[in-house]
Assembly symmetry: C2
Homo-oligomer: 339 residues x 2
Amino acid sequence: MKTSTLQDVARVAKVSTATVSRTLSNPDVVSESTRRRVSEAVKVTGYRINRAARNLRTRRAHSVLVLLPDLANPFFSTILEGISRILSQQGYSMLIASTKQVHDSGERLIDYLDDARADGMIILDGWLDDEVLQMLKDAPQAERVLFACEWVDGANFPSVRCENRQGTRIAVNHLYDLGHRKIAHVTGPETNVISNARKDEFIAEITSLKLALEPEWIIPGDFSLSAGCQAAQAWIALNDRPTAVFCASDQLAMGFIAELSRHDIKVPNDVSVMGFDDIDLAEQFIPPLTTIKQDRLMIGETAAKMLMARIVTPNEENLEHAAVLPVSLVIRDSTSPPT
Amino acid sequence: MKTSTLQDVARVAKVSTATVSRTLSNPDVVSESTRRRVSEAVKVTGYRINRAARNLRTRRAHSVLVLLPDLANPFFSTILEGISRILSQQGYSMLIASTKQVHDSGERLIDYLDDARADGMIILDGWLDDEVLQMLKDAPQAERVLFACEWVDGANFPSVRCENRQGTRIAVNHLYDLGHRKIAHVTGPETNVISNARKDEFIAEITSLKLALEPEWIIPGDFSLSAGCQAAQAWIALNDRPTAVFCASDQLAMGFIAELSRHDIKVPNDVSVMGFDDIDLAEQFIPPLTTIKQDRLMIGETAAKMLMARIVTPNEENLEHAAVLPVSLVIRDSTSPPT
DNA sequence: CCCCACTTTGCAATCGATTACATCATCTTA
DNA sequence: TAAGATGATGTAATCGATTGCAAAGTGGGG
């Protein structure tokens, strides 16, 4: 069974292919009766549009590339869900690739845009090479590249992110309000914009609360579980241990707590620990994690909407260029007043 | 800056477009000197192939759809990584959609194949409607549909899965060897082929070991964390509690253990708990989870390879039709001899 | 009854790469 | 040296949908 084409439909409906095409993409311009005849013919022939043909003619790929640092990171899944929702609503498909893979296969990121594979790109990875970034920045397609969660200082890419700084203040104040006066921070990766925003704001807020802050209370990490474990060891080794720890990610917090429990240190009794992100697991963790919630579904949806707007009406001046989404405090059992 | 086409390259290299095309896709048939001239011209013009045009002409989408039940499930990420690796090696792109979304948007799954959006499909969801399945089965494109992890009893789709039954036997025997004689099982969803395979084999193995098995030792679940919590409550409510529990997934096991810990029941001291899958988190969990490891990277790679073989040489008789991959026991701290 | 405006439809070019077939040059071999 | 084989390249049709432009049809107003 060959799949049928516009021609077949046209033949059956006894109209031209132009009319069929118009009926399908812009029904208002054809007469009521033709519209009926055509839809009948479409049904009879079982016609499906050939996207390759349309893509060629319209110079649109009707798909968007989402670039992840790592497919295996649960942080991103809900964001993807949000992106995918908006895209499929608009008849677009979602292509997925990971930074590492693109790099290993020798492809250049910009190729996806250049070779008509994707109309735009949502980047969830702030760790791109400078070289790659430069290439993106210079390219005329740069306006169809959008960063979500991550962003690039200095470069003028549109972006969606959450209130990292406000979230940090909320976290610090939650611990402060519980009565903690010695608070440590486990950071994300050193070169990452998100972790720097959180770290800077942490220091600022601690300072503005006039709390003590020893240099070794800023413990370097990298968002991962295992970094959390190492951070816990660093904390344990301190002479003067802070009574609360604000971790830059939930994964860090989980690793931190896991390591503590191996040393028979109890959370929150012996130390309060907070995360950031509110990943799915945070609620089920033992103890359930107090954290700063990012609405990842909304991040995804917002990113997709912003990008689609740029794809549909390029060169538009008054497009939203950056969205900063609110965060909220989720209090669970990993924090309590110091004892 | 307009992107350049084959024509532009041909003009610069002073050959026909046919020659350029051949140089690019089949370099052996052109002469050494032309090859050099053409690659020079490609460099000069910055030529990038237009995939829409190629896709139209070759009647290939050069992409594969991966269908997930749920983007937010961490179980799938490594499988995706594996699939993506193979696809990008072969110049294919990976499209992602979730069952729910396809359903909600009113699309039919088969449309992806029909409208030249994707050349094939890897389905990681066993929960498809009968209606959808029937449609897939009848379609001539069915041979380009492959199930991974999941499969459909009765339908003759190619598939990749792990040794579910053997994994189950290994698990039961591990517990048996530790000295457990009363073993419970928390199942996956009732209608799921995987959970049924594991459940059936569990019963068979318990029987062949001549162990006792009360009906209420088979606790229904659905692979999720929260089902694990409920299962723990069911276990707690038992008069005669089994000393070991084999859960059909790691998530179940984690939920189970989390709930126990809320009741101050210690794993493995008070009860041994095993999972199945070896998801990334299993190692970091408290206690680190004893489980049956599925090599998810290999599942993904195998699935992609099998599908690609079918796409590249359709109607080939001697294609591998089902791959069953080995599993292994990973012993960590959630199991111990009964006390 | 004619003219103009407006709606509806058709014609045909177009998007850019691939490939069957034809052509031409060069080389082998009897 | 002629015939045939081999290799390299060009010509042009093709994939299937979209769309600018022209033409045909319809209706209203003068």
